[in-house]
Homo-oligomer: 359 residues x 2
């Protein structure tokens, strides 16, 4: 499984094994440690292939030699189950398109085609479906991707929650382009494209679960143009990832595990909007574990870091790009945080479920 495959863990981290007779719990879909355990123990042993083992957001695959393909295909899939369907800054349709466009793009691919599978609950208003479909098409046009194949299924009332959308995306990776979570090198610089946590808090607010008013908007956006501009300026970029489910902390842990490096992050440099920080503190959440849907993590060689940052800041979705840390040889597979108060602590992966059904 690409979307949330199992990075290598080292050190004292001991995943709790799944037991026979165990049931699926919400945490298995969090994108954090429980999801990784489910993948390691159920999916990975069945679907063994080098592409699955690579643990990136998308699979990079070739075609038979007689097809003449130069480069590779980038393929990814995602199911979208957000509640509510509409939230400040976006909706399930925009989320479904952007999520898969972004996953395909994280390999450096140009996303080209999208499939869309709709699971509808009996009684769902056709006019609401129309709004969602129109929003998908608007997002697809912004990204420059075509929706080329689809499927519609209807289940009896009470057997689904209004609307679920699955998208799969296909893109093309030009020959010679090598980008992946396993390629971070000591000395590389870590950038993020803007403030963390807005999507998760916006969805919670839309549910009325905050208990107070907020104007936070989801950041849901297609990042493919931002990435193309970045790669022109910094062609030796090593890693691209979008910190969705599990947030920045989980994604950095995945990179540290895949690349077998230590990632040292400076807490005070991590951008978080004041309203997101305030909401997180009231709810007892850490913004570093909250999902984003339009943010980019970049790991780039130091000599290209300035060019990368400049290029990203010139794109509307990267205007607030900052450096948040650096890759070190150790501790292997770990993320270390220089805290605001001057200490250093291990920043671990999300272990259960913090924010259900937000992506």
């Amino acid at each position: 499984m690409q979307e949330n495959a199992l990075p290598v863990f080292e050190g004292p981290v001991c995943p709790v094994p799944l037991h026979h007779g165990e049931e699926i719990v919400i945490g298995h879909g969090s994108g954090g440690r429980m999801t990784h355990e489910l993948i390691q123990q159920v999916f990975a042993p069945a679907f063994t292939s080098p592409e699955v083992a690579s643990s990136n957001d998308s699979a990079a695959v070739g075609l038979p030699q007689s097809a003449g393909l130069r480069g590779k295909l980038s393929i990814s899939t995602d199911s979208h189950i957000v509640s509510p369907l509409f939230f400040p800054g976006g909706d399930i349709g925009r989320l479904a398109v952007c999520g898969t466009v972004n996953d395909v793009s994280m390999s450096g691919a140009t996303p080209l085609y999208l499939t869309a599978g709709f699971i509808l609950e009996e009684g769902f208003p056709v006019s609401t479906l129309q709004r969602v479909v129109d929003s998908m098409q608007t997002a697809a046009q912004e990204a420059g991707i075509k929706v080329i194949a689809g499927d519609t299924k209807v289940v009896e009332k009470g057997k689904a929650d209004g609307l679920f959308i699955n998208t799969a995306g296909i893109g093309w990776i030009p020959e010679g382009r090598e980008i992946g979570g396993q390629l971070a090198c000591p000395g590389d610089i870590v950038l993020v494209s803007g403030p963390m946590g807005a999507h998760g808090i916006a969805v919670l607010a839309a549910r009325g679960e905050l208990g107070f008013e907020t104007e936070i908007q989801s950041d849901v956006a297609p990042l493919n143009h931002l990435i193309q501009e970045l790669l022109l300026a910094a062609p030796h970029t090593h890693v691209l990832r979008d910190p969705t489910r599990g947030g920045l902390a989980t994604t950095l842990n995945e990179i540290a595990g895949q690349s077998q490096v230590g990632i040292w992050i400076d807490e005070k440099s991590i951008p978080v909007l004041p309203a997101v920080r305030a909401a997180s503190e009231m709810l007892g959440f850490d913004p570093l574990y909250i999902a984003n849907e339009g943010k980019l993590i970049v790991v780039v060689p130091q000599e290209e870091a300035s060019a990368a940052m400049l290029a990203m800041r010139n794109n509307p979705y990267g205007g607030q790009t900052v450096q948040i840390g650096r890759i070190e040889p150790s501790p292997v597979g770990r993320v270390l945080l220089h805290t605001l108060v001057g200490g250093t602590r291990i920043l671990d992966m999300l272990s259960g479920e913090m924010l259900p059904r937000i992506c």
Copy 2:
């Protein structure tokens, strides 16, 4: 939308328009006329592209010229919501793999890669998920396709029905291969690979809805090897389709509409297992509208029809291939049935929902 896109209707068929304020009903997912109306009125206007307009089981698309691709990609998606998850002859996992392998293959493509998105209901047994995943891998191995990317989401108890699986498939269509629902020509022969309706009846039996015992097994199977052998023997094959939701009658109507031809079918030549016929009669169903998951409709020029039939009969999934009819210039967009009693009647598209949630 490819899977169930809108063929052209002519003559007295008047689709009922969707009204503002209308709600989704089970019939919108049947694969019959209501599904086509939903696609025509909601999806098609948004997702306009030549690939979507082609109304085939899969989209045939190219890559940027610099990718060097010879031929095309075949891309398809399908969501699987069958209840119960296990039934005689198969399960949701085998169905999910075979359904998409078959859709990709209907363009004459070699299916290569599969994505899998799992939506799990809280409380679903991990051991059952393991059985389904193992069944998927067995089917993928039989088809020779790799599962390369996946996604797992969990919804609260009561917000889904155990397990839904979405699959998307990618295949390669060699240069020069032209197969599609719009290519049937007057004079062509129509073949089917075996008896109709077993899958739908097997699922109903597994639900205990028949009220009597039956040994009918689902026909769910990957058809890609059968198709490759057929195309070696009959390289000028015009149309390949698998009669899934909506059954043989709906699929033939789609072909008649896309190709703007008449399809004349001989009822007595349509193979139906005695047990399927008996169950259908007791339930008031017509086997020609019941879903199949391992059957192939072939439209082939008369001069290659014998070679096609011979090749198909040599494959385990085509052992009972027969000729059921012929393409005529008229009536355009219609399927005519020479009935058992010697008359002729229009065989229409499925208009509502007959068998919910069987594929």
